[in-house]
Amino acid sequence: MISVNLENISIKEHNKFLLQDCNYTFPAGKFVLIKSESQSLKSILVKTCGGIYIPDKGKITYNKNGKSFTSLQNIQSGFVHQTGALLANTTLKENLLLPLHFNNRLNKDLYMKRYNELISVFNVTDLLDYRPSEVSVSERKTFGFIRALLQQPEIFFMDDPFSECVLQSVEKMYIEINKLKSNNITIIAIENLTSYFDLIADLILIIDNNNISVQVADIQ
């Protein structure tokens, strides 16, 4: 199980501090939902935790079985992007299989087994040969979600996965997220227009006045 430790983290956007000298530890095996008035701060924070952005100041460490890592290179992680963020010049199938060629830590048999399972669960087999621009936003986001799940994640990040998705996809994603949660995978997520995560999050982190000020613990 992975915990994420933020140490004196500062995040700036357009020379303005969105977050200043923040300290917080995302506990291992818990589902943490981040809430804030500022939508961009939530996105930037989840991307910073997910190793996509480098904080302007401070340090992030990932703790796994007593070992500390400064990057996610040695940890399997999945990231669901707000827009799906699929590679436009490749087919949806190639989008799903691309990480397999680059990430040595992925178990290939397990990856392919899960791939076949998920494309059948989400009923997207007919779309595999299309390019991302040829399918709907909801389908793009579904593929982005499947791609993140395929990474055999020990930690899972979600940047507003449900918005613009059809209800059928949301329900299936919700089931998969619950499976991750029951497997004690650490989950850090935000959502903007929906409030599904309020029902399953272990912790809700409220960020106000440039700092993590309120933490509602164990809402269940």
Partner: protein
């Protein structure tokens, strides 16, 4: 102010080049997957540009032959024409014209593609999938552009010599065998080596500048054409600078 802007640019570009260098030498390549991208890059950059390159080469050969025959043969005799033909084509135009073709076709395409990827958060997706964008996007394009430029330089030079030989034998009534032996006689290994080095250096410049400007795009799609035009201007500037430098090195130091 201007000086600071240029030094900032060079610093950022230098940092980018060092990141490329580290990615080249510090990571084991996934050759299978990357070679497909390189092959695609060579197809778009070299194969699709062969027609225009050969056409430019043919016209260049005709122009040089007609102009130099008119001007030079009256002053210094025929032998100088071949000397000019070899040095102008092999060392100078043979590198520069294919480079300009690649900048116009593929340099702009690379910046636009990577810029759009930035806007659409595809670069972020690569990072989250633990795929190094430098390895996946930049190195493949550097290898592709260098290989393509070498191919285009070869075809440009050949087509120029062919058209020059054709003009020389058909319209200027010179013996084709003499033409071939005089051209080969003027061509030295150092000329070929200089052309090879120039093609490599120009290839690195075109690909890295195009990728660098593509990755400079942050949020808006309006940044894409701005960065593309910057990439074109800077690539041409760097190529002229390095062309002068390498020519000086060839004529002043190596010969």
């Amino acid at each position: 102010m201007l000086k600071k802007r240029y030094s900032n640019y060079l610093l950022k570009y230098g940092n980018f080049l060092s990141a490329v260098y580290i990615a080249v030498f510090n990571r084991p390549f996934k050759l299978g997957t990357l070679s497909k991208i390189v092959q695609r890059q060579i197809y778009f950059t070299a194969i699709q540009a062969l027609g225009i390159t050969i056409f430019s080469g043919l016209l260049t050969g005709i122009t040089i032959m007609v102009q130099s025959n008119d001007v030079i043969s009256n002053i210094a005799g025929n032998k100088l024409i071949y000397s000019i033909l070899v040095s102008v084509i092999t060392i100078e135009l043979g590198g520069i014209i294919p480079s300009l073709i690649i900048i116009a076709r593929s340099g702009t395409a690379i910046t636009t593609e990577i810029g759009n990827m930035s806007v659409n958060h595809e670069i972020e997706a690569l990072i989250s999938l633990k795929i190094n964008p430098i390895e996946y996007l930049v190195i493949t394009r550097v290898i592709g552009v260098i290989t393509s430029l070498l191919i285009l330089v070869l075809f440009f030079n050949l087509s120029t010599f062919i058209s020059a030989g054709f003009i020389s034998s058909v319209f200027l009534n010179r013996d084709l065998t003499d033409f071939i032996s005089l051209v080969i006689g003027q061509l030295t290994l150092l000329d070929i080596f200089t052309a090879f080095i120039k093609a490599n250096v120009f290839g690195i410049i075109i690909a890295t500048v195009a990728c660098f400007h593509g990755l400079e795009v942050n949020r808006a799609s309006t940044e894409v054409p701005q960065q593309t035009s910057k990439a074109v201007i800077i690539s041409i500037g760097f190529i002229i600078l390095f062309d002068i430098f390498l020519s000086l090195l060839r004529y002043e130091v190596l010969s």
